[in-house]
Symmetry: C2
Subunit: 603 residues, 2 copies
Amino acid sequence: MDKRVIRQRLRMLRTAMREMGLDYYLVPTADFHNSEYVSEYFKIREYLSGFTGSNGTLVISQEEAGLWTDGRYFVQAERELEDTGIRLYRMQEEGVPDIVTYLRQHMWEGQSLGFDGRVVSADFGKRLEEALSEKKIRICFERDIADMVWQNRPPFPCSRAEVVPPRLCGESVSEKLARVREKMKEKKASCLFLSKLDDLMWLFNLRGNDVTCNPVVMCYGFITEREAWIFLQSGALQRETISCMQEAGVQIRDYWVLIPFLQDYFLAGNRGVLLYDSRNINYTMYRIFRSYGRCKESVNPAEQLKAVKTEKELEFIRKVYLKDSIAVTKFIYWVKRAVKEQVGLTEYSAARYLGELRRAIPEFLDASFPTICAYMENAAMMHYEAVENSCSMLEADGMLLVDSGGQYLGGTTDVTRTIVLGDISGEMKEHFTAVTAGMLRLASARFLYGCTGRNLDILARGPLWDMDMDYKCGTGHGVGYMLSVHEGPQNIRWKYVEDMPEAVLEEGMLVTDEPGVYLEGKYGIRTENVLEVVKGMKNENGQFMRFCHLTWVPIDLDAILPDRLAEKEREALNWYHREVRERISPYLTKEEQDWLAEVTREV
Amino acid sequence: MDKRVIRQRLRMLRTAMREMGLDYYLVPTADFHNSEYVSEYFKIREYLSGFTGSNGTLVISQEEAGLWTDGRYFVQAERELEDTGIRLYRMQEEGVPDIVTYLRQHMWEGQSLGFDGRVVSADFGKRLEEALSEKKIRICFERDIADMVWQNRPPFPCSRAEVVPPRLCGESVSEKLARVREKMKEKKASCLFLSKLDDLMWLFNLRGNDVTCNPVVMCYGFITEREAWIFLQSGALQRETISCMQEAGVQIRDYWVLIPFLQDYFLAGNRGVLLYDSRNINYTMYRIFRSYGRCKESVNPAEQLKAVKTEKELEFIRKVYLKDSIAVTKFIYWVKRAVKEQVGLTEYSAARYLGELRRAIPEFLDASFPTICAYMENAAMMHYEAVENSCSMLEADGMLLVDSGGQYLGGTTDVTRTIVLGDISGEMKEHFTAVTAGMLRLASARFLYGCTGRNLDILARGPLWDMDMDYKCGTGHGVGYMLSVHEGPQNIRWKYVEDMPEAVLEEGMLVTDEPGVYLEGKYGIRTENVLEVVKGMKNENGQFMRFCHLTWVPIDLDAILPDRLAEKEREALNWYHREVRERISPYLTKEEQDWLAEVTREV
């Protein structure tokens, strides 16, 4: 990218800001729905700054331009921002102000700050309001000014809204609406606004392709006690979508009429309590609701209902996880050999090979997130993504961490294995063994109904804490059904945050179990299985709960020190490997079968 | 107790109620300070009903009288209430309404409910208000009507307020006041009201004898940014108390002028924010503060500061725990022999022997709670207290659970051991082994700073959960320094309660570690050590924390199945027993030493 182009774009933006009377303009990386990934249309921060990382916020004034990004992107951002006049702010580094602090320090009394309120979360918007109110800063959130300077902007994403085939549906739209309305009643709300796309896809049994890795279409939902509306772009509509919505009594409105629709609705004298989830709505919606008044912020009931998979969904999920596990097992067999036999194998080409194995599965649709195929020190970066022309060569030495997953007709997968490619040190083995012990301890947990992830996290993390080590992230997250690979409300984390609601682990929830070791500049280890929450015995003490594995991929014994495992952990590992062998072997070639028998041997 | 006397007392109360225009009158079991135990003066419910249990609430109308108590007391209450006309309401039993529901159902619109607001907690009073507001019930909380009918009421407790000898003080009153005021500032409060007696004793370095097992005097405290008042009965004052308070700039007012003092203070135009802890104040105080208006309910800062022991306090505590452990170890040696050699040994006489061993320690002051000395099925009741003329004989068979502690100059102790007296079943051994494994697992925990009890509970409870068993209480509580044996804010529990604040485990906190098995009608097992929270390594992952044992009493190997212990647990048990031997042996007789060596052998 020619840096003069970037400077020219910034000049145009500054001209537009002057015309609009804005002193500062803020461009985050988000879509209107707070999605985890954004489509091309929303990559305006990249267009304006030339920085291509997945996380970053640009702040521009007539005098200055700054870009905030996190540790994953410091090196890349430095290179990409060179000669653009944009200063890099390294988030979380000592002495670096965050955006809110920066604005509070730099803006003068009475100045104005602009941003497109639709791509700023309600929570961040509220923080800006609070921080800037003392200086009487005017916040202008109504206009997407950057749009005025973006020539040849990619079209707004508009894939077709596909109806989920009834055979794959856990429940009909009417059934789901009835359950959502029950929850609304419990919360004494008469209407519910939904904007998180995976919640909407779940509720309306639709899927699409508007967001990378997330099979969703752009839409909103508005549910009352008797009526329901979905707001879709006309280009997304198919005859099937229309008839399916009609059947469920859902009225279709155009995606772009949402705001006038709501204003009309409120003006029409509907004075019930409106429920919305402030974690998921954008600032513009928040401002509309705030002016309406009778609102209740609450955890979105659709999120909780979506997280508990139906038995029908679980049947598909179990089958899909088996197929996905076969592909990953075949990949491990291949890569351990290929690294010794082939020349020029890279992180990128290995990831591509795994992608091909998945694509050969008939139900496969897409990756569920960008594959992390990270060799040695690259694996110490939790969200590393190998790029074709700048990634590491694989050698018959050390370890390769592969974290990947697929979107299938019948489920969304997520699995990580760290694969030994050659010699590794005793320290690596110690760490690998501790990570695996933690994964197995959590997976083997027996616990009373009522536990949340905070009760259980120490099982996975304990073996590392015993060594004065830790990983700086949660142990697990929920997983969608043909939807986002990261979903709530359940998770496995330990940190106490006051007033943060916790989700009880319910039968039918999925959760990942992924402890790890990340040593900067050295290596990274992670072993990740997806677990299903199931009921155990019920007796006078209450309802006991436990987990079942959904993932069946061998754990590399080349990195296991059996002496370091407690007897129960060794038993759990041997049991798991017996199950992997029995479940996966039938789908392998003779050579692969022999290999699998060896790598799942008893230790 | 002659039941006619009770009926006569109720008649007098009903007459008084009619005179006061009250339709219902409620008599709980509490003092003005929400203390765990109450002195004779406050046993008005016992006076009126004849029921002598430690927990119960009496509700009287002209037509009916009902007593609510919990499962510990059903049998006793039935006997004691017979022929009194008072109906027993078994709390938590199916189909039995709680008091609030009972009143809502029975009271008519516009009737009045009376109680002494000083012995009803603010939270319970608020619940009554809410539940009865629909029926426009008048709540009269200003008068202690029962007092009018109690002839020869015992005097209001009034022991002398003793100044804690400076050599035993962790900090001076001025230092503590300064820290409390810092916390007030953080919470933007300009005054703080304190009524929980142990918090007040801690803050003012006083002790007394007004509440059973709790070395406290009746008092209140009121702290502003510059001034501090303590409200004490004149009979509690000694010259030393007065000069000590003067030194710290604390003004003394009479205990009984608190309410007019506060009214004057608020009327005098002091309009700052008042901080109080709604969990600890009575309903009368709550009503006064509510009428004042500018209040903030918050966790009491003194509670948090008190929980973190100073290094000086910890030095005394460690010494006191060693002496207490010696007494308990000698007791175990004695009881295991006595049960075979002596005739007529009972739970009561065994408890008395243990009491004598403690009393022989020069620093001993009092028991820190009523000793639980419970044989076999009695031990399945968590709060069993053996009474001289109605308790079990000890036989050379089964198990004896002894949970006891002392108040010492230099600390408050709490320890439980379950002692094998003869043959026990394989099942008992399995359960004992699981309980001990859980106690050791928690005690051996390594965890990052920031953990609360909810993160760790599963370590102690896990071995039981793995067997589909549980105990229906928390795993641990904080312990005072020459104060209440139960104190907060820290604890070890697993249950998630929305909006319930959790306390991070801080260096210098004490916490009990007491998993158990309770099989109704069969037996009870508990192993309880007190742990001190200490710092471990600090590195790039954060500050690691761990526990140190304070309790050094052998765990009965006669009930341990070594094969059922994981290797780490066996190592922990052997390490613990080696430490017990080294620390305790020097204080034992030759016979006791030989015995100790045997019962702390490696397994």
